[in-house]
């Protein structure tokens, strides 16, 4: 008892001292912390409706519990496998095409020695990043139109048949990913350009003395030099796998391509807010988030073990 009191006193004193020292910082934090609690943590607590049968009169907190009913319903529903397949298929295509292109673009820009040319190309390729998803999607309808879209005009000029990219399920994934590359590759390249600029010039001089050509310099200096950045970006990218491009997929959807364009996140929206099956939708959402966190954590752990780079 005595010992406990002895230990307590400095602890309390320390807290008081810290409070006297930091109280103004705490005041500054009040509003932002209140924001996180109200707009993020209360909804997080509200995830419990995934385990409840939501009734409007009882609200989130008063509705009766029902265990894993909604999860079982989702896993056994005929939509489950197609949704999972579409979501993962789209994400992996995005990773396979969308991830390496910004790296290649950054290396190409880094190799261009004309400053003006480089600046011009950079300004151009960053630009589409700021176009809204709605505008991007309507541009897709314009340029991919099977009747008079430019892409199909070119295909026909080369002797092919016009393709309705947005109206056939089998073209949906590729259209989604390529248009994403058009919009975001330049912007995503910035971080690699910055990393490339940070590589020591001594390395290049030493390589030049050894007679290494450009390919060899890229392969043995540039790529190892930006590898930590690549690994970090890859983990972040994996962290988006399950929530990839919900808005764009939703806007690109139409009756003809729905077989490929319905992904979990768009399904959550439709089931939840259009059909008002709140608990079912929340359960699917929770499942989706958990899979996502699992992928992120395992990718991070793997990267830590293999490359010694990781997010945390």
């Amino acid at each position: 008892m005595k010992a406990l009191q002895k230990n307590d006193k400095p602890m309390l004193l320390r807290t008081r001292k810290a409070f006297i020292r930091d109280w103004q910082l705490m005041v500054l934090c009040i509003l932002p912390v209140a924001y996180f609690i109200i707009f993020h943590y209360v909804p997080m607590y509200g995830v419990q409706i995934a385990f409840k049968d939501f009734r409007a009169i009882d609200g989130i907190w008063g509705s009766p519990w029902c265990g894993f009913k909604h999860f079982r319903r989702f896993f056994t529903s005929p939509q489950f496998w197609p949704l999972l397949k579409n979501t993962l298929g789209l994400s992996f295509l995005q990773l396979a095409i969308g991830f390496p292109i910004p790296i290649i673009l950054a290396i190409m820009l880094n190799q261009a020695k004309s400053y003006k040319f480089k600046r011009f190309v950079q300004s151009v390729v960053y630009c589409p990043h700021f176009i809204s998803i709605v505008v991007l999607t309507s541009m897709l309808y314009i340029f991919l139109s099977p009747r008079n879209g430019i892409v199909n005009t070119v295909i026909q000029a080369l002797g092919g048949d016009p393709i309705f990219f947005l109206g056939e399920a089998k073209y949906f994934k590729l259209t989604f990913v390529i248009s994403g590359v058009w919009q975001n590759a330049g912007w995503s390249a910035i971080i690699y350009i910055a990393a490339l600029a940070g590589i020591s010039p001594d390395l290049y001089e030493a390589a030049a003395v050894d007679g290494a050509n450009k390919w060899q310099r890229i392969w043995h200096i540039d790529i190892p030099g930006i590898l930590p950045t690549i690994v970090m970006m890859f983990i972040l990218e994996v962290g988006k796998v399950m929530n990839l491009g919900m808005q764009k997929a939703y806007l690109m959807q139409n009756a003809q391509n729905l077989a490929a364009s319905e992904i979990i996140s768009t399904y959550i929206y439709k089931v939840g807010l259009i059909n008002a099956q709140y608990s079912y939708s929340a359960a699917i959402n929770l499942f989706n988030n958990l899979v996502n966190i699992f992928l992120l954590v395992s990718c991070n752990a793997l990267a830590k073990r293999v490359t010694k780079n990781s997010l945390w």
């Binding site: 500054l28 995830v47 609200g59 040319f117 709605v134 008079n148 390919w215 919900m246 929206y269």
Partner: protein
């Protein structure tokens, strides 16, 4: 370096390096063209005759110059109302964003702040896990924020990525000695924050204004989820109704489907230009700041 100097250096390169440069420059020029051309096409199409566009005659220059599309857009009150709404959401929303982000970024930039770690963790955790659409939606409805302007400016009040950029910027660019000197003059943290940190962080404030501003301007999903009343529509929802849904009600007094589609055809290019104009106009001037943001964010904190 003079031209001849450059040329002789070029000649001194090995054959493979020369080939590499030629291929590299050609590909980069091609990429720039592929990115630029669609944007250019929208511009010339917006001034062209819709019939000529339909027949594929508009490729490199305006054909059948007219501004009917733009006139129709200016006459359309629904477009202007949502345009004005979005200007409001962007201005008010960005101000809230900036204030809250800086207010939290400063305390988190102080290494010996006793609550630094728990608050930072609390913020970062929301990047990886969230309650999801439905719990948030139900909670917003409980708070009577459904179908209000407030939800569009409050819900995205702090973006954690932007918060981290701001925190790192303050930590790395404002020297600790300044705080020591200020505290000798009797400054507390709040005074130091408002009188010294805020004025010295203009670079990051510009970056934050740009990022948040563009995000508000392009915001679509929150509008779709939370706004039912057309009078409160942000621009992107109206754009979707006209550009992607060819919605009859959006274009006012037009009767048949055919008329409807023709009208949409006429205004769609101009509408893309008008709706993207604010972002595209400021883009060339602030491009440097935009990319600076990414680099500031990449500094590990």
């Amino acid at each position: 370096m003079s031209l001849s100097g450059r040329f002789s250096r070029f000649r001194a390169q090995s054959f493979s390096d020369k080939a590499f440069d030629i291929v590299n420059y050609t590909l980069l020029a091609l990429i720039a063209f592929l990115v630029l051309y669609p944007l250019y096409f929208i511009v010339i199409a917006s001034f062209s005759d819709p019939v000529a566009i339909n027949n594929g005659q508009v490729t490199l220059w305006v054909k059948g110059f007219n501004t009917d599309g733009y006139r129709k857009i200016f006459e359309n009150t629904k477009i202007w109302r949502s345009y004005a709404n979005t200007i409001g959401y962007t201005v008010v929303g960005t101000m809230i964003n900036l204030a809250l982000t800086m207010m939290l970024a400063y305390p988190l930039s102080r290494k010996n702040y006793c609550l630094r770690k728990p608050i930072l963790f609390m913020a970062m955790f929301t990047m990886y896990f969230s309650g999801g659409m439905i719990p948030t939606f139900l909670w917003m409805s409980d708070l009577h924020l459904y179908n209000t302007r407030a939800v569009l400016v409050l819900l995205p009040a702090i973006n954690v990525f932007n918060l981290i950029i701001a925190m790192n910027y303050i930590k790395n660019s404002i020297p600790e000695e300044l705080y020591e000197a200020a505290s000798l003059d009797g400054y507390g943290h709040i005074q130091y924050f408002t009188k010294i940190v805020l004025p010295l962080s203009q670079t990051i404030e510009i970056v934050l204004i740009l990022y948040y501003g563009v995000a508000h301007w392009n915001e679509f999903m929150n509008g779709l989820i939370y706004i039912r009343d057309e009078a409160l529509y942000p621009l992107q929802l109206t754009l979707r109704a006209i550009l992607l849904q060819n919605q009859a009600s959006s274009l006012g007094d037009v009767d048949s489907m055919m008329e409807q589609q023709k009208a949409a055809e006429l205004i769609k290019y101009g509408l893309i230009i008008v709706s993207s104009l604010p972002v595209m106009v400021i883009y060339p001037f602030v491009q440097k700041h935009f990319s600076k943001g990414v680099m500031l964010g990449s500094i590990k904190g």
